[in-house]
Symmetry: C2
Subunit: 430 residues, 2 copies
């Protein structure tokens, strides 16, 4: 997992020379990264006391660059960033369709531009052309950009033979209420960062680089807890107030790579070290959910709200005792409890890495929140990950009456680009 | 300004006893705040190294509670929180109309419930009734809740005689494209926090407390830079990439209180220490804006993009030389430059405290971003603050062709509640 690590960007200290901006006719320009390096050092010298002092000063006073801003994810890694990277506070999902007349050549040029932009922005540099300055003064803030290809991409580029079987459309589920206009797409981009302006800056820069080659099909915004807002040694919470993701496979698991990533020798060859992303906009029917007592909610899930521990006892990571009964002989974890149904060992070892963002797009009429989960599940093979899991949920999950799947996408996310390479090059220039 | 200060919540250390949850029949319960106190201490012991180590660990690993999470704004203060409080990373604006049949009595009970809830949540406690657990494990994260009354509130509650003249409807401006359904409202609530789940938790808790007394009229979401993402000693940036708020009055200014707050002896008496909020949803026409060169953008604003300094030289806070001409005899800061028009000393001393959130509600058709600024301006008197300023802008601001005012509200925000009091009590129980 070392290739996914983030940490303070120390490169300015070792390469302090001005960087020439290739997009500028006026010659050498101070890079944003260099400015940050200097300023960041000051922030670090101030230390914890500096944070507090800055915060209690006048409105809009400067706060030191902390690890939140300085942390940086790497672009040229074995697996694309944004899969095992820690959850970020802000996320954007955006899908594009290739424009009429655009084919393989235009797609290749687009992925090259996008990869270059992603690498620059993830390093805290401005975009190569006409940077909007929206991220100026900010650190990389753990920005990640992740690129994927949808089923329809391959026919439009004459690459049907390279289309993975794993991209075959997901089966219909009885609980689906899918909006086609917010589903699928030729190309998918996931953006995450711990600063909302850094994330928006990347979103706009990538949209602009699409130029005439591709047009926006749909776009969604999400969020997670801000690093530092909690100290609890616990998985994320969702907008239902539940601890979410407890059973996620861990990178330290022996079979993690096998379950989440296509092997280096996998098929098709261009997907080596890649993964498949299932994206679902899952609306939470919060008004209904919140009418339940906490006790009733816990029986829907099978876990305690307070700490995510199984109803059969222990802590968050304690194994669930599926056979345990109460004094009346009833199962403590009901048969239709969400956590029972989704247990990997009850699903032939099916495992997905859930890496979601919550969403809240305001209120519908009468104050009903348009909120829920941008569910993003990563796996080596959707037919052995999401599909069997969702089939089981579809048949008997107690949670299903409180959620609604409103949009869906399935994308092939190739491995990370090597130095000098762009994401998808092994597909587009095969 | 001491009444607005935030800082680590140290109270758990001095009051470690379990707190009885008045909403629970099962007796004493550990308060969220107490749990946080313990866990927070651990985080602080780990210090800076702990932050980095936590961050580079496996996905969703715990990060220590930093000042970002521990910082707390006070509820019982002279001026309501959320006016001079430093900008927060996440914000919600929500307006309510009283329900049919609800009058002064129901409004008073609602404000009492809301004040109680705001005080609890700002301290990191759960809501009194049926807490959703969405903010569980998180620190207060500088949460603020601010309450205001709109023009229509007073007739509905039989309090016309108490309605401030300052609440008279804003004049029409030629650049207005206002959506009435997203404008005004009987009651207005502003929520800000540095954690998105803490902010959403408060939004839902306050919505739930409205019960049958009031229904949601409109709701908007916004964001600012996350504390720690930048170390630059500079004002916030907006989605146009401009430094925004440079000329904001400072709490250290001699006339700050006079310009921003109604005096203790002001009229009407219930507005003592209060302020007026002008709220405008200002859409930015980013596709048009970003077609301009940075040079052209700087001439629209009159300031440099890089650092917000006037085009006439110096740094961000250097006074603008309004008379300076270039070699051709042209004014360096054009006559219609936004920064020239909005200068307080060109507007009879009119001054507003701008405390905005950016917004981004996805894309319209064809990939046009629905994004801009939730402009929130604070002043002692809108007729000497926002109105003359906006009139001048309306006549000749070069920026006006790149923005569109889509919604508008004007709210009377009373002073902070004393201990034992609720916000607005001096109006509703006069």
């Amino acid at each position: 997992m070392t290739d996914q690590q983030t940490g303070p960007d120390t490169s300015p200290a070792t390469s302090p020379a001005p960087v020439t901006d290739p997009g500028s006719a006026s010659g050498p320009a101070l890079s944003r990264r260099r400015l940050l390096g200097t300023a960041g050092a000051t922030g670090l010298v101030l230390g914890g006391a500096g944070v507090a002092a800055g915060y209690t000063a006048a409105p809009a006073a400067a706060t030191p660059l902390t690890s939140l801003g300085a942390d940086r994810a790497m672009f040229h890694v074995k697996h694309q960033p944004g899969i095992t990277t820690p959850l970020q506070a802000r996320g954007h999902l955006i899908a594009f369709d290739l424009a009429a007349g655009a084919g393989r050549k235009e797609a290749a040029a687009l992925l090259r531009r996008w990869s270059d932009t992603a690498e620059r922005l993830m390093a805290g540099e401005p975009a190569a052309h006409d940077d909007t300055d929206v991220a100026r003064d900010a650190g990389p803030s753990s920005l990640t950009v992740t690129f994927g290809f949808g089923h329809s991409f391959f026919a439009r580029t004459g690459l049907e033979k390279q289309r993975p079987v794993a991209l075959d459309p997901l089966p219909d589920f009885s609980s689906d209420h899918l909006d086609k206009n917010r589903s699928n797409g030729d190309l998918w981009v996931q953006i995450g960062a711990n600063d909302a302006l850094v994330a928006f800056h990347a979103l706009r820069a990538l949209q602009k680089e699409a130029g005439s080659a591709a047009r926006v099909r749909w776009q969604m915004n999400g969020f997670n807890r801000t690093p530092g807002a909690t100290s609890h040694p616990m998985t994320a919470r969702n907008l239902m107030g539940q601890v979410d993701g407890t059973r996620n496979p861990k990178p330290s698991d022996d079979d993690f790579d096998k379950r989440i990533f296509v092997p280096a020798s996998g098929e098709p060859a261009w997907m080596a070290n890649g993964s498949y992303a299932v994206v679902r906009r899952i609306r939470m029917l919060l008004d209904d959910w919140e009418k339940l007592s906490a006790h009733a909610q816990e029986h829907v899930i099978g876990r305690r709200k307070a700490d995510g521990a199984p109803l059969t006892g222990g802590g968050e990571t304690t194994a669930m005792d599926l056979e345990k009964t109460d004094a009346d002989g009833n199962l403590v974890v009901p048969l239709n409890a969400h956590a029972r149904i989704t247990r990997p060992d009850q699903n032939g070892g099916a495992a997905i890495l859930r890496r979601p963002f919550s969403f809240h797009d305001g209120f519908d009429g009468d104050g009903v929140p348009d909120a829920g989960l941008l569910f993003i599940a990563w796996q080596a093979d959707p037919l052995r990950g999401f599909v069997p899991l969702q089939r089981k949920l579809d048949r008997g999950d107690a949670l299903s009456q409180f959620i609604r799947h409103e949009a869906s996408g399935l994308f092939a996310v190739p491995g990370g680009a090597a130095k000098g390479e762009y994401v998808g090059q092994r597909l587009l220039e095969a």
